[in-house]
Assembly symmetry: C2
Homo-oligomer: 342 residues x 2
DNA sequence: TGCGGGTAGTGCAACGTTGTAAGTTCTGTG
DNA sequence: CACAGAACTTACAACGTTGCACTACCCGCA
């Protein structure tokens, strides 16, 4: 049975409020009283009951992080960054998985009782789209990540997807590649990583006067390794000529790497490959993978900071008091490695 | 401002206790009363306040999961499994990272106030050792994972490390390999994955009458990809002959794969490689990696079940009422892939 | 008519904390 | 040495919920 304020107060011969005051570093406590209370706290091993505190204050010190799946490396690394960032603000992170792009589950999540003891949510949807925008108008602080919804009612932290994809494509074009396949297209998508990155790709092609070839766009609804490998095998089987591959994320690119090598294609000799996400493991593939680092730590730190600010009310709810929803853009960085060496 | 029992009670013209009774499906409520209450609940969008409930009942429905780092794939996949298993029991998971084997942080974690609103903890240490055993004697339900501590005061879920490593080594021996290098040794370790797996390795060698060669044991304190690659390069540089590599985990093996191929070594022609952990990505490396699947889902499900049982008190605290600490062993499975094909 | 036994519903206290307002004890000054 | 004002301390209520003990009622049976 853990000690309570009552126990400490009894032992130190003061009121429970005084103990509370000591715990909270309230100014007006005589040094000897403070001494006595601290001794009692130590003796009893008292630690404040966060649940009770939460009930009183309406805060729990817990933030939620809802993402598709931790087994997708990108989200595992994102969660790592978010937990670290939260720790710096003494917040603790509760993780919910919504599955790989399951729109229904994402929507359910937003009103899940499982989030009850959370002060706010960092939400990275993959299934919801622009049409679901107003569903983000929830009665608690919410920070949106990702590229599925723009202009929604909440703060949004994302990156310069179009610019980054343009830079990645340019990188290939500058190395003389002209037939650049793209893996990970989402047909019929109105908004999302695929759409934005494909836009950057087309812009770069246009800039360079290279014609766009529909056949080089390989759809892959999910972005796991085997989707990349499968898409690559399809392209090889189709016989469409190409001299470079742009994986819309690293996992796709790594899967493609594998399929290309199986087929005896030399990288980067015959085909150059570039990915997107800056995953740790892109440093250890063979060859090492050129990729775009989307500034994951920056995204995580910003998301946590903005959420914490909303929670503390230093800025009211978006659209409530003029502190409207804001969009934050993280900087990206192209990391050149062997897979696109000249 | 969310609705409370009071609001619902007022609207339905009953006492708050009756509302509470309806919410909890208490038998003695007349159908029409129940009807009225449910209507009021719906109208006000009432949802119980979990914090308050937690204060009353001493339960929060949250379990903690403390692990080294999510950016280590094994732990990301473990966390995924734990979250899924917890979800089935309507538990929610709060994740803490202790860093890659930081003993101090692990010990701190055990008494961290950050765990306060957690009903129990699943703990996977990497830095603590047998000597720290009694530190696990904490005043809340704790389930231990991993191979650092055996015979401690808590329930423990782990796998047959020695057997699995023996099987892995045998697998290589059966394919005619005699000079099997091992990556990931931990010198001076009294207990841990490295020690147990190395024991299985030596047992398999002894069984087969193959002499043990100290020079083939390559230490690697951390088990990241680059540690595997570094160790492999060291061995190649030393010129010690070898025809197989046993990575004590998959990440080490994948790093080794990379270093071997850089050096022009053919796999499995010149050197066969086997890993340990059954990571998803071992299916997509080139060549695909033979590995030992330690039954991660089973481990996670067991850990959550045992923890939930302790929390619900269906079995008292270990050593308290005869329901002493138990050890659970998950089954392993050797997955044969290209890296060890004959 | 009274009484046992079940059903339906209620009131109070408590979980451990903190904000408010008010009380008590000091200190220094006139 | 009185007294204002600051320094220190306290009692009480509340946060939203649930367990306990209780009342009120109804039915059937002796």
């Amino acid at each position: 049975m853990p000690a309570t304020l009552h126990d400490v107060a009894a032992l130190a011969n003061v009121s429970i409020k005084t103990v509370s005051n000591v715990v909270h570093d309230y100014k007006h406590v005589r040094p000897d009283t403070r001494e006595r209370v601290l001794a009692a706290i130590k003796e009893l091993g008292y630690r404040p009951n966060i649940t009770a505190r939460g009930l009183r204050s309406g805060r729990t010190g817990v933030i939620g992080l809802a993402l598709p799946e931790l087994s997708l490396s990108y989200f595992a690394e994102l969660a790592d960054s978010v937990i670290r960032a939260a720790e710096k603000r003494s917040l603790v992170v509760l993780i919910e998985q919504t599955g790989g792009g399951d729109r229904e589950r994402e929507i359910e999540m937003l009103s899940s009782p499982r989030l009850q003891l959370t002060d706010g949510l960092i939400f990275s949807p993959l299934g919801m789209g622009m049409a679901d925008r107003e569903l983000l108008d929830v009665p608690y602080p919410l920070v949106l990540l990702g590229e599925r919804i723009f202009g929604g009612p909440t703060d949004h932290v994302t990156m310069r997807n179009v610019d980054a994809a343009r830079a990645a494509t340019r990188h290939l074009l500058e190395r003389g590649r002209r037939r650049i396949a793209v893996i990970g297209g989402h047909e019929g998508e109105d908004m999302g990583s695929a759409t934005l990155r494909l836009r950057g790709y087309r812009e770069a092609l246009a800039e360079a006067g290279v014609p766009f070839d529909e056949r080089l766009i390989l759809p892959a609804r999910e972005w796991h390794r085997h989707d990349g490998a499968r898409a690559m095998r399809d392209l090889l089987a189709a016989g469409t000529p190409f001299d470079a591959v742009f994986g819309l994320n690293d996992t796709l690119a790594l899967g493609a790497l594998r399929a290309l090598q199986e087929a005896g294609v030399r990288i980067p000799g015959d085909v150059a490959v570039i990915g997107f996400d800056g995953l740790d493991e892109t440093q250890y593939s063979l060859p090492t993978l050129t990729t775009v680092d989307p500034g994951r730590d920056e995204i995580a730190a910003t998301a946590v900071r903005v959420l914490a600010e909303r929670i503390e009310g230093r800025r009211g709810a978006p659209g409530n008091d003029g502190a409207g929803p804001r969009e934050y853009l993280a900087d990206f960085r192209l990391i050149e490695r062997e897979s696109t060496a000249s």
